[in-house]
């Protein structure tokens, strides 16, 4: 456990009757860009505030670089925060805002001036140094907030939904800037967001949180490709859930699954599952293929006949919802070739869908409510 730079150990925190964080343990490595991802109220901001020292845990300890910092006040911790609202001091200029940390630490004036100059250069705002925060645009405020935090050379930079207040274009720009700054300063980032795209594109690792617990920790690809729970599968990207029972596992790596109303399905298996157990499959829409013609039968190919119920053309790809047994399955088809030359798949067309056994993923944990996270068009009347 000593390799963890910032570590939460068995943290619990309640506000009145609301349990914000319920027994979470988590470790960040030095220099890592780590994201806490989850819907609002999942406890991610509480985790950040616990790291900053704004909240005290009811139980558990927080360690920074091997030192227990649980009882230290915010001003004694070598962590700095970028607030969602930026919290720039309105009565101070950009320059004074950035200099605040060093001025409080009573560093020599010359050093402060040099450091502030360097920071202004990093955020490319040298010509705005004399302005007050209310004269700045959202993106500029954000950059000042970054500079004000980084000038203290914190061990960990905490970012609380720093892009939430910006419009889409600016958000994408700042996303790249944050990434560049992280590469440049090499500080550990703890990034809190509800936006999966932000977390996926920036992070070295992500912890997905829900209801005060951590659902899964992993690299963006691990989280996306092998979600452990229905929540992770449904919250990050889109997916299809199939409910069945393990029929048998002829070899160790694959299981045959009986799903009511569908032909038998084969799925990759990487855990100790006994025949007879119920199981839930998650299959990402882009892993499912669709065609008018029946493809060849192959080992470990799950092939189902289906009927198209909805088609959404999106330019680079098309979304299909097809009916197979009692399921509505979403299929995402990339248009790698000139699309107009094809015979299009239309509403009510019979078709075939298939996916490889390796692309279906058996979940550790399934919750019916998570299905509501999926964007499914309503069924048409008269179908």
């Amino acid at each position: 456990m000593n390799s963890e730079f910032l570590e939460f150990r068995d943290i619990s925190k309640s506000f009145g009757a609301i349990r914000a964080v319920a027994g979470v343990s988590l470790g960040l490595k030095k220099g890592e860009f780590f994201s806490l991802l989850g819907p609002s109220g999942c406890g991610k901001t509480t985790m950040l505030r616990l790291a900053a020292g704004f909240e005290e845990p009811d139980a558990g300890r927080v360690f920074l670089d091997g030192r227990d910092i649980t009882d230290l006040p915010p001003d004694k911790r070598k962590v700095n925060t970028i607030f969602q609202s930026y919290a720039l001091f309105p009565h101070m200029t950009v320059r004074d805002n950035i200099a605040f940390g060093l001025a409080i630490a009573k560093r020599p004036k010359r050093e402060i001036r040099a450091e502030v100059g360097r920071m202004l250069e990093l955020i490319r705002m040298g010509d705005q140094a004399g302005k007050k925060p209310d004269q700045l645009s959202g993106g500029q405020k954000q950059r000042v907030a970054v500079a004000r935090a980084l000038i203290n050379k914190p061990d960990v930079l905490l970012l609380d939904e720093p892009l939430a207040a910006l419009d889409l274009k600016l958000r994408q720009k700042m996303l790249i800037e944050l990434d560049l700054i992280h590469d440049e300063v090499g500080i550990t980032f703890l990034y809190v967001t509800h936006d999966q795209a932000e977390a996926m594109s920036l992070s070295d690792r992500i912890a997905v949180m829900d209801g005060g617990r951590i659902e899964q920790v992993g690299t963006p690809a691990e989280i996306y490709e092998s979600p452990r729970t229905s929540f992770v599968a449904a919250f990050i990207g889109d997916t299809n859930f199939l409910e069945g029972r393990i029929f048998d596992c002829p070899d160790r790596d694959y299981c045959r699954i009986a799903i009511p109303g569908l032909p038998e399905v084969v799925s990759f298996n990487d855990r100790a599952i006994q025949p007879g157990q119920p199981t839930y499959l998650s299959i990402r829409p882009e892993k499912v293929h669709i065609s008018h013609e029946r493809p060849e039968t192959e080992a470990r190919r799950n092939l189902l006949p289906a009927v198209v119920e909805d088609v959404i053309y999106l330019g680079s790809n098309t979304k299909y919802w097809v009916r197979a047994g009692s399921y509505r399955i979403q299929v995402l088809r990339q248009h790698a070739r000139y699309f107009l030359d094809e015979q299009p798949i239309r509403w009510k067309d019979p078709c075939w869908i298939w996916w490889h056994a390796d692309d279906g993923f058996m979940l550790d944990h399934f919750r019916k409510a998570d299905e509501s996270l999926l964007a499914v068009p309503p069924q048409r009347v008269g179908d």
């Binding site: 900053a52 962590v79 009565h91 409080i104 935090a149």
Partner: protein
């Protein structure tokens, strides 16, 4: 153009009222100060500077000086008490907040005069405070609590404190306390973040509080009259004395003119300060 005219028309009643009952009387006060008195308590003919010269007597200067320091001290004590109080109320949970505010306002349910009389009984040589202090050995039998400048300051602070708490509370309630968190996050100790972020954040509430205490304090009359005694006299008492006992209106006017100028000075200072603070709208902008 049309809009301007409409604006003029709507503000006309106010302007007429203010001109008739504020501007004209104030100017009259200034004019009468330069008139001689007549023996019947009226205003004589001609013009004179005697009354103005009479202001420079040591006794008047002493009282003017006392009026100033009592008002300044009252304002300072009120601020020192009101800032933490306003802060605490603003940070209290919503339900408790209303109750605390109610407690601040409760004294207004009793007549001001009755409350000052109550202080007279409290501070009386046979009163409970004196008895308590004697029992604790903090006061001898000769100590007088009443009829001195300290008693005036005490009762003035008591009177003006709610007026100080309310604007400071109003400003603190609008203050974004995440800024204090940000300051703590950047290494500021609790008191540093209070001084460098909270106080500047509520500065307009502070200015309003200063005005609503300092200006009425300068013109105090009832409090020094009832608990001040001769050593606690203020300009307000002097003016009343000139009008009612001496029946010398020009003298009273001259003193009043001094007071008006003393009140205008801080007002102008605040206006200049707020002009610098571009976003400011009106002086009382943050008073409830």
């Amino acid at each position: 153009m049309k809009r301007r005219k409409a604006e003029w028309l709507t503000s006309l009643p106010t302007l007429v009222w203010l001109t008739l009952f504020v501007v004209v009387p104030t100017l009259l006060v200034f004019v009468i100060a330069f008139r001689p008195a007549n023996p019947y308590g009226g205003i004589g003919r001609g013009w004179t500077l005697d009354t103005i010269r009479a202001l420079a007597t040591p006794s008047t200067l002493l009282i003017a000086w006392r009026t100033l320091w009592i008002s300044l001290l009252t304002t300072a004590i009120c601020l020192v008490l009101a800032v933490p109080t306003g802060y605490t109320i603003a940070r209290a949970p919503a339900r408790l907040r209303n109750r605390l505010l109610l407690l601040v306002i409760v004294p207004f349910w009793t007549s001001f005069l009755v409350r000052v009389f109550a202080w007279r009984s409290l501070l009386h040589p046979e009163g409970p405070i004196k008895k308590l202090l004697e029992a604790l050995g903090l006061a001898g039998p000769d100590t007088t609590l009443l009829y001195n400048p300290v008693a005036v300051v005490l009762v003035m602070v008591y009177t003006f404190l709610p007026f100080t708490i309310l604007p400071i509370y109003a400003a603190a309630e609008k203050f974004d306390f995440r800024l204090v968190e940000a300051a703590r996050d950047l290494g500021a100790r609790p008191f540093q973040s209070f001084r460098k972020v909270f106080l500047p954040g509520i500065r307009r509430g502070l200015l309003t509080a200063v005005l609503v205490v300092f200006i009425p304090a300068l013109g105090s009359y009832i409090i020094p009259d009832l608990v001040g005694g001769p050593s606690g006299e203020m300009l307000g008492n002097k003016i009343a004395q000139r009008v009612f006992s001496d029946r010398n209106l020009p003298h009273a006017s001259a003193l009043s003119a001094v007071l008006v100028l003393a009140v205008l000075a801080p007002l102008v200072a605040v206006l200049v300060l707020q002009r610098k603070d571009k976003k400011s709208k009106i002086i009382m902008g943050e008073a409830p």
